[in-house]
Amino acid sequence: MKNLLEIQNAHVYIGSFYILQGISLVVPKGEVTLLLGRNGSGKTTTMKSILGIYPPKEGKIVFKGEEISNLPTHKIVNKGMGYVPDTRRIFGTLTVEQNLVVSMRKGSSREDMQKRLDLIFDLFPDMKGFLKQRAGTLSGGQQQMLAVARALMNENDLLLIDEPTEGLSPLLAKNLIDSLDRLKEFATILLVEQNFRTVSKLGDNYYIFDNGKIVHEGTNMSELIDDKALVAQYLGVSI
């Protein structure tokens, strides 16, 4: 089974708005798939419909060979997905450690937690320093680390990461991308990003969204960067 996740012709509505107008994509196992496109082109909605927050009205979503399109969110997630949302959405009133405890699934033991923590400290050594701090008082970069770390608290096969570099300084963004690069060995990643140049070294495949449709797909990021016309048409002049 080569493809970990497969979306087949999904049509998604939010309220009465027709957002995704027939999306089909595949996420191959062990690779990083990028979803690119302008604001409001349907990337985040795709993520949320994979998670079952906006289930598709038509079409199928298949994860590890099972159809998950009509399952409730928590069942989908428990099949092995980790979600890093676009505005981080960490729990500000809890400490960093409590945030991580909350993210662990039912039935995980203390040893599991230690093992996952070791992995996280290996990726983000800074986190040791603010483990007992209230999450609401962290800086943007630290919050983003926490948001990624939360998704790593369980054995996940697929990580859904939404705009990780949003609002971060270029240096912090670069560090984060380096960390994500190391994550590739643990899990398959589906990454939404507006700023495609910063993540270009990560990507194995990419899909370009426009107005709720996929307008272009490819496997070679360097070709995309050179294709000025395509970039100007769908990705705007991104900085």
Binding site: L51, I53, P72, T73, H74, K75, V77, N78, Y83, P85, R89, F91, G92, T93, L94, Q98, N99, V101, V102, S103, R105, K106, R150, N154
Partner: protein, 370 residues
């Protein structure tokens, strides 16, 4: 080029001038202290020093006892409101029903314990204190269990269908409030009738009716002092449970962002049902605990529901702070008891006055932010 004319706004002005703000705050505090002092002096003048001490200490004890009781009830309301975003109008009815459940279970337990044909008689027949304490514990836990079942049932079968439609949920809980109140009135009569354990019981109880006498008119009911400690103990347990247990953390996280908790793999619907049971159970417990003091009455539902609202608004708990309910309950309980001893005609409206002041001065309540 046109000048942008800006209207003068006192709030913006204070924001821009922190020193003026600080000065204003100090002035207000000093003015409040002076007014308070004058009020105390006036009260001493009216009631004499000894009378003042007796009244003040009684209202302190009663106020603290009432505060703890209100905290128990409102924390249930708060949990349901915070996590499930449901304003549970049936909460007062749960509380009132809990009172009647406590009353019935207490008398039932007592009858069983005092039945000479049963083995319990050997243990409790002579020891009335142990009997009353045991019956009290059974009644409180029993009422909590019954109400938890009712609350859980209501959530599971009806409210669950309407998540995402807050107005319909409120309308639904109003319906349950209405039905529960009417059923209770059919069985136990309208709010003119109060049911007291002591007048219906076969023995007199030290535990419920006992007094601690310090001389000089300083008499305190044992039960009310017990209530203070019970409330503190439950409050402490709840705070610890919130900080230390996984489910407490999940609830706290869910109050902040329930969708994210679900996206991390927790069955939020199950959590909602659990919290609903917990909240209704707390209402039942506090209702049962109220009975030995104030009695069971079908009119309590509405009265205490309104106290719950005021406490949530005053404490700022509608911004998701459990501490808010604690402070709000303290303020409401103490102010009710103090006014009832010193300014009786304000007793019933003092809470609304406090709420109005808080809303004007700090719209977010005591612990909330703007």
């Amino acid at each position: 080029m046109t000048m942008q004319t800006k209207r003068f706004s006192p709030r913006d002005y204070l924001e821009e001038n922190p020193q003026v703000r600080k000065l204003l705050r100090i002035t207000v505090v000093i003015a409040l202290i002076i007014i308070g002092g004058l009020l105390v002096l006036a009260a001493i003048d009216v009631y004499t020093w000894n009378g003042f001490v007796v009244r003040a200490s009684k209202s302190l004890v009663n106020g603290l006892a009432l505060s703890m009781l209100l905290f128990l009830m409102v924390s249930g309301f708060f949990l349901i409101f915070g996590l499930c975003d449901v304003i549970n109008f049936a909460h007062g009815a749960f509380f009132m029903l809990g009172g009647f459940m406590g009353f019935v279970i207490y008398l039932g337990t007592e009858a069983v314990f005092l039945d000479p044909a049963l083995p319990f008689y050997l243990i409790f027949g002579a020891n009335q204190f142990a009997l009353s304490v045991t019956a009290f514990i059974v009644s409180a836990l029993g009422a909590a269990a019954v109400l938890a079942l009712i609350g859980g049932g209501i959530e599971f079968f009806t409210i669950r269908r309407l998540y995402g439609n807050p107005i319909a949920q409120i309308l639904l809980t109003v319906g349950f409030m209405f039905v529960i109140t009417q059923i209770v009135e059919i069985i136990w009569g309208p709010s003119q009738f109060s049911y007291f354990i002591i007048s219906n019981s076969q023995i007199t109880y030290f535990f419920i009716s006992g007094l601690l006498d310090f001389g000089g008119g300083l008499q305190f009911a044992v039960y009310r002092i017990f209530l203070i400690f019970l409330g503190l103990a439950v409050a402490g347990l709840m705070f610890i449970g919130f900080r230390k247990t996984r489910i407490g953390l999940l609830v706290q996280a869910g109050i902040e962002d329930s969708e994210m908790v679900e996206a991390l793999g927790t069955d939020i619907r199950k959590l909602f049902t659990i919290v609903f049971m917990l909240g209704a159970g707390l209402a039942g417990l506090s209702g049962a605990v109220l009975v030995p003091w104030i009695g069971a009455n079908s009119g309590h539902g509405l009265t205490y529901l309104i106290f719950a609202f005021v406490i949530v608004v005053v404490g700022g708990a509608h911004y998701g702070r459990l501490e808010g309910t604690f402070f709000g309950a303290l303020i409401v309980g103490l102010s009710i008891q103090f006014t009832s001893y010193f300014i009786p005609f304000l007793e019933n409206i003092i809470v609304f006055i406090i709420m109005a002041i808080i809303l004007i001065v700090r719209p977010g309540g005591l612990t909330g932010h703007e």
